[in-house]
Amino acid sequence: MCVAVPGKVLSINGTKAIVDFCGNKIEAEAGLVQIKIGDSVLVHAGCIIQVLSDFDRDMLLDILTEMENA
């Protein structure tokens, strides 16, 4: 129900931003979160819904390992 993909903010123009998805440059609405150029963001239905933070595979495995050991 929620196809959303990560991209990088290239430029901001008022309430809109140009987001780069591996070379596809798409204009997205930016009215739901505070963004800055260079942010990694999640875009759903033409709208930025989140600024993504670093969380990689190792961090995920950390959580699972902690649970295992608890």
Binding site: M1, C2, E29, L32, F55, M67, E68
Partner: protein, 347 residues
Amino acid sequence: MLNFNEITAYLKDYDEEPISLMEVCGTHTAAIAKCGLRSMLSDKIKLVSGPGCPVCVTVSAYIDKLCALSLMAGNTVVTFGDMMRVHGSQSSLNEAKSSGASVQMVYSPFDILKLAADNPNITYIFAAIGFETTTPIYALLLEQAIAKSINNIKLLTSLKTMPAALSWICSQNSKIDGFIAPGHVSVMTGSEIYHAIAEKYNLPFAIAGFDGEQILAAIYTLIKQKKSNKVVNLYRSAVNENANLQASALIKKYFVEDTASWRGIGNIAASGLYLKEQYNAFDAGSFGLDNDNNLTPQCRCGEILIGNLSPNDCPLFGKACMPQNPKGACMVSEEGACFTKFSYERN
């Protein structure tokens, strides 16, 4: 530290008490099928699809209204691709289009603003379906329409919310042992919305993103947290404990909560959102659309949607009901349990 080989081995070799886990997001349904995840699990781990596909849970009365609006002179219905093939009690938007209806498909709802501004003599009606991920976007759309004095757009809404539906499923004595919580809904709502249900029914929730590793991690988590009320957030790059404040504020400004009708299930209190009365001018008649004519008596979509039956249990599956000739919504939507089963897991 654990690695994914150990996790996949654990899941493949799992031989304890049988466990049944439900996901409630059509995008998870599709991701699980596309990754072939069921083939990686022991037979004792059952993955069940819940009512998380907004196309699948939209009642026939809504489709009928949408088709009727599209055939009226001076109207253009604007929609996501997903809605084009779904049948109401008479026809689908695709069929209405070939009878002369004005229907336009878009990727983003914001495309409607330019259409409306460029063609002030046409009323543009957006087929506004979705869950918590998409509803704030419709609110933002209205905010912009009002700011730009664009008055020739309307929404026909079929907006639903997760918590009430989840509670309803839990209250039905379903044999679900845990929930894979929807990743992008949770981006908007925060992980906090699952605590009350987890505690009330003593069931664990694992919030997952949409790649194979996230979903495998969620399944692993739910097995390890069996018979607990833990809410574990695995999608930490995107999901926080708290809701997106801007989104919440917009929803509060434009929408009010009420009973919604879920296709194949019936009415669930406090599970739907409707435009507030002061925004009536932007509504295309969304209230009171609860008629749900089951076109095919043998169709089992309702029970499949709540995980009581699997697609294989439906007498029509793979015989009278196939993607090229769907009888129920679960087969129409590319994220429906029946469509994904037929396409990716038939053998």
